[in-house]
Symmetry: D2
């Protein structure tokens, strides 16, 4: 599979789809997926279009240049991706390793194509797991005092490895706004509640104490405000008065793994657009 993928957003007006599909067709591309959405409240047009580069007459390094004329005409924000390019993912984790394990097993089973050049943790717990999958492990502890300093070291490391996506697999630490700004819409977190309920610390304890009958998990892009970034995916599971706090955690962790893995998969397949702190997830 050797495809190009365009993710586009722009003010809606006549002719956008025709212009884009003509661009592909007249250069001999075969469209494999095309999905569009119009937000009528804000008159915004969104599109994900994927076409085969087999027989496509524009060399991949020139596509961007050629497409720019269209993008300018329609005032588009756009991103161009190639399916042949394997995304590079860094995983941040901490003591709880179920999400890390889950991502590594999906990686090993070939569920989705990416490489994992490094795993970062503020605890040594995941070291052995990283080794058993042959992945570089960096133990980088953080304190309130040295946070910015340590983050700069992390940023350096991530840039050196050309990381496309940072996945927070129950990392537990909060990044500064400076760190977040370096990777806009490129940090995915799993929060172990049905956001916006139970923001912040100990969501299972909060849920248990409130006596909810359903618990959830939420994957979202990280923004400067805690647990308030664009939601990518959520799922829920039923609980009852019989479920202890420990039961909530067991049930919830099963959700966390699935909800995080879906977000990672969709991001790496370039299916997600963000706007107004929300996501469009093309399926």
């Amino acid at each position: 599979m050797d495809n190009a993928i365009l993710l586009i957003s722009c003010p809606d007006r006549k002719g956008i789809t025709a212009t884009i599909t003509n661009f592909i067709f007249h250069n001999n591309g075969n469209i494999e997926h095309a999905d569009q959405h119009i937000d009528f409240q804000t008159n915004t047009f969104f599109m994900r279009i994927e076409w085969s580069l087999k027989d496509f007459t524009i060399p991949r390094e020139n596509i961007r240049k050629k497409f720019n004329a269209i993008a300018e005409e329609f005032k588009m924000d756009y991103a161009l991706y190639f399916s042949a390019q394997t995304p590079r993912v860094a995983i941040f984790t901490s003591r709880l390793t179920h999400c890390l394990y889950d991502l590594l097993l999906r990686y090993k089973e070939g569920q989705f194509k990416y490489s994992i050049p490094l795993i970062i943790s503020n605890h040594p717990t995941a070291s052995e797991i990283a080794n058993s999958f042959g992945i570089n492990f960096h133990e980088i502890p953080k304190t309130k005092e040295n946070k910015r300093e340590v983050e700069n070291k992390e940023i350096e490391l991530l840039k050196k490895e050309n990381i496309d996506l940072i996945v927070l697999a129950r990392y537990g630490q909060i990044f500064t706004g400076e760190f977040v700004k370096e990777f806009p819409n490129r940090i995915i977190n799993i929060h172990h509640s049905f956001l916006p309920a139970f923001v912040g610390k100990s969501p299972y304890e909060q849920a248990y104490s409130r006596g909810v009958k359903i618990i959830g998990a939420t994957s979202h892009y990280v923004t400067e405000e805690l647990d308030a970034g664009p939601i990518i995916e959520q799922d829920t599971v039923r609980v009852s008065h019989r479920d202890s706090l420990a039961d909530l955690k067991i049930k919830g962790q099963d959700l966390e793994k699935i909800v995080l893995s879906r977000a990672v998969r969709w991001h790496l397949e370039h299916k997600i657009l963000t706007y107004h702190n929300k996501t469009v997830v093309f399926d």
Copy 2:
């Protein structure tokens, strides 16, 4: 079916279940359902036990007196109900009538046994519906200024009709603490969100604006604090960026009907105990 039902809570200690079941057995009752739960955090024992009054040697009017000795010994809070007694339900509604219709249709289909002596609304919308089901309709408008006065009229009406349960079927008005105190654990509300997310006004608008991927509905007992009473039941449904606010409402209203009807059914079957602002729902 002519059964007695006991709902019991007390500090846990040895011998509670044996004592209760002996009481029933030695008076020749046949236990049809028995369910217990211990909250180990607070060392509290909860039980729902239901037995057939056929052959039971204590006349129903004396059961309470006889059981009091046990209740005192174990410092029990308890309530005694008889399945032969049809609960009397008052429905409060407003302009949106889907929940009202749903309850009336279940009533008509005989899904659960109760009588509905009256429907109260602050708008005339439901009047025709009430009439078509042969139920008394009271239009009682409210303003901020006359709220307490009007509530007193409502209380009088409800007491005169010996109402066992008040169901707020998208009533929309907030009761004062004085009103709520008159009917502890006897007012069930449906809130059109997955509580504690989106408390208060316009939860669908809030959900739409936050960009959640799942919406919910919550039925709960009304307490003095808005949307903060013990949760009885919740359910959720998936939404996407394609769902407009109107779609959210359509999907959500289907949930509301189901989630409210389950809470009403369980309450009328005497399956719900409350403690620490949570519910034990015996199934």
Copy 3:
């Protein structure tokens, strides 16, 4: 809203989307929704495209003629609809009226736009309901012996009323292949199980007896083979050993209403394509 909608399927090849969107753009139409899908197993292209007729330069009565050239070139099967045209729905029902009621209430609440010229039943039960909503009611009993004869009467009635869609709201009777052939992909049935489990009679009894932990409901287009047509929508709900057969029915009926109403809505919004006994449902 005055839109045109095209539902298209054809063998996949280069240029389909470009050609269709050009057709709309060059005639000054504004695309509001466009969704496509390629089944790579069978190399089949599917599309739903909806555009505003405001400013569209081809009068609606000529669109078909103009589009035919494109359709022929790409060997398309296609259907053209206009949102301004209110679909005409006939409901068939029997003794159990919960699905009928549900459709009528959604109709009354304006959830989706259609007219219901007639309700047909083999029992008188629904007569009063039909009257209360001001809809013509035809009681048409059937026996094995007179089935074909009666069906011919029904066909005549349906054709006279220009019925676009027949909804079987727990009708219970099986149509002959002759009847079904008159309305290909225009009869929607609700089956009260998670098909293909529990085909045919008494699915709740079958589910109860098998001891499943989840029950379902399925809406599908009716084909000559019983309960084997293209599935449009399914949903499920959890049950336990505590649920009696009567409980299964109560839970299941809530599903039936939702699952049927979704299928009807999507059909009337022209969102469903069928192929190889499956459906593509554009959302």
Copy 4:
């Protein structure tokens, strides 16, 4: 925690619960969980009762003998378990190792207490995984011809290790009736469909071909008839026309892991009773 657990079934009659709870109370046991269920169709009484052995006056080795008098009086089938006794689980697997991995990770995380003395597979794939968790691995290939012979070897191995539960984690091989008879209600299988839909080979392919909108997974006790034993747990997930067969497998495998792990957990916590090819699962 040092508890005793009784799982009981018998014909229903007056006094069962009183007699059992008296037995525990008069011997100074503290009941921690008690759950009962009556199947009114068959007049069968089911109970799970768990009590603390701290201060219990009957030594554990004599409980059975003492309880036998009660069991005989009420014609009970019963089983007695001790929470202090760690169940011994054998896992059978094959080429697909996601369920195996899932069980091993839950085991490692201490989600539920059991020991895994051995893993058996007809392929070498899982060998390395077993080693990395420090568990004995037996590669035992099977052919149609040598099946009974090989099974006898397996039975010998399992009996030697005092195996309490056999878990088929996508084992793929069918056991003979002779094997199954050796372990009644002690073999749990995960079937990758929503049973009874899609029995037998390639359920995902069957589901894909039928065009269902929801797929499922089912854990059940193995009986002589293929995929027809008592269902313990099921769960489902939504799919659409966009999901390829490979997508169905990814979504389904997430279900398989959860649905199998729940069944294993409940079995090991002695929460499951079977009757009439169904299960009572006390929560």
